[in-house]
Symmetry: C2
């Protein structure tokens, strides 16, 4: 078991807990014959959910009992101080101890970030970890960071995000030179604030394939591989995008119900709409990376279903296989040698 | 003519210039029998485009010749200094002189804002004007500001935007108590930055129906009437939303072309899709208000078509009828008397 990739799952995290995570775990093992899982949470509950699954390869599952759970709305500071035997904390401890190469949780984002940072520490040279995820674009996907870990960023932070995002995409997508853009505003008046302008200067001198400023719609067009922004802006962009997609889907359902002819058209259009849904399904892109840590931690959406949580597990496995944290660390080391310290 | 509502149109502004603006002007006059227009731009060009329109009520049109045009990519500072006889500048001058009650332009946003601020001045107590527009939501529309005029805002600016947005919606939608929300992030970690937190404190004490923090997706849900944010965040939210909508539309077209059955389904679904398109068409919401000025200035999208530019004209007319700037001014006066100066 020690030669395989091992992922620790915070089984109790998320809106649905073991109902989703254990089923996703079982399917993950079928998809990946050489991977193994550490299921962290209440032992009896996990056993119960496991026994409901047929054909689970129990040899590749180890249960790690945890008697605490971090609540979805718990303060990160309180979770960090009082929940030292939570499923979330123990999953990250397993990465720290080298028993797992990645931890995956659908739990409280703030607590996960705080705990991961406290237990695993950031890579040398990284001041703040960032949350990065892929979003669909017209021809593939775009990675965006930060998505909410850092609501106030200076130019150095944005620069570090750009480097981390670029290395992630190089490794993850086998893309030798990802196009990196800084998210900015399109108003002709005053192109961007001082932070963005200063980050642009650093990137122009720099170590990534920086293509300049991009705007919100560029995330979905396909001309840029890594979009860099502070966590406030990134979170709003992500949530606004989800909101529009939901509204369009809502309107589409309403319009297809308007009258007999529309209902008939809906029947005809069903396979088309199913394919569309699949292409824009946020679950397909579930699994955000907490970048900049000395270890791999993947955040699943709290409301993820079995397929979506499975995607987060796949992201974790791929980051293990591609050795993402070590590659970021190496790039940073080169950079730190080259750059005069700010 | 002096008793009617008069709108000055920057005929030369926008990607399409008089091709769109003059046609939209002619249709606007048919829709609104008591309104009158001042068409500002190259006289010969305007005459030529007008003569191509049939049934135009020339009695309600006055042409104001302008021999300069502000380019779409021109620096606002240079436009302000060197384009004193541009169609944009003269349209705003007409508002200043009381010959028009509103100016509408599809030109360069930055130049329009700089010129409007310079010529008309801000209302007493307002430090910075903001750009505000309506966006569709599941049950109606949501007004969002600022959308790009101010990329760095402090809590006082956000507070002022909230007041201005609330008064706009009170007047515009005959809504006695618009629900006002502050745009914030949903990451559980650290709810918002200091600016947003401090703005929230002021609004909780305050003069609008403040309902608390909202997230990006709330713009499109329908539970809030006015969403307040800085111009950087607002611009990114707007552009990201447009990007997602375009991508979904692109995927939908692709999927409906995949195979004979899908093409057939597309034919059947056409009326449904046309209705959907109409509901989410950004042109329906074209016409952003430059709020906080001593006068009404409406910014049309640069790429607006005739219908969309017509919507911007309708927004201008409604703001005239509802006396929006005076109502904002009155509210501010009350507030300034009540509040200790910061």
């Amino acid at each position: 078991m020690s030669m395989t990739s091992q992922i620790a799952i915070d089984v109790m995290g998320g809106d649905h807990g073991p109902e989703v995570t254990v089923r996703a775990a079982a399917r993950f093992l079928s998809r990946h014959p050489s991977a193994a899982l550490l299921l962290v949470g209440d032992q009896a509950t996990i056993e119960q959910h496991l026994s409901a699954q047929s054909g689970v390869d129990r040899d590749r599952i180890e249960i790690v009992h945890a008697d605490q759970v971090v609540a979805m709305d718990e303060s990160p500071a309180i979770a960090l101080r009082t929940k030292k035997s939570s499923s979330m904390r123990l999953a990250i401890d397993l990465v720290k101890d080298g028993r797992a190469q990645a931890a995956v949780s659908a739990g409280n984002t703030g607590a996960l970030m705080a705990t991961a940072k406290f237990v695993l520490k950031t890579l040398p040279g990284i001041e703040r970890p960032a949350i990065c995820t892929a979003l669909p674009n017209e021809s593939g996907h775009t990675h965006v960071l930060d998505l909410g870990a850092n609501v106030d960023c200076d130019a150095e932070h944005l620069f570090q995000f750009a480097v981390m995002g670029s290395v992630l995409v190089e490794a993850f997508d086998d893309n030798p030179s990802p196009r990196v853009g800084l998210l900015n505003v399109g108003a002709e008046a005053i192109k961007g604030n001082d932070t963005v302008k200063s980050a642009a200067e650093r990137l122009e001198a720099g170590p990534v394939n920086y293509i300049g400023f991009v705007e919100g719609d560029d995330i979905y067009k396909g001309g840029v591989d890594v979009v860099v922004c502070d966590g406030f802006v990134g979170n709003v962009a992500l949530k606004s995008s989800e909101g529009v997609a939901k509204m369009i889907s809502h309107f589409l359902r309403q319009e297809f119900k308007r009258g007999v002819f529309s209902r008939l058209a809906a029947l005809m259009a069903m396979p088309v709409l199913a394919r569309l849904k699949k292409r824009v399904d946020p679950g397909r892109y579930n699994g955000a990376s907490l970048l900049g840590l000395q270890g791999i931690v993947i955040k699943s959406h709290g409301g993820a279903n079995v397929d979506a949580f499975g995607n987060a597990l796949d992201v974790a496995l791929r980051e293990i296989e591609k050795d993402v944290p070590r590659r970021i660390d190496q790039r940073l080391e080169t950079l730190l040698q080259e750059r005069p310290k700010a």
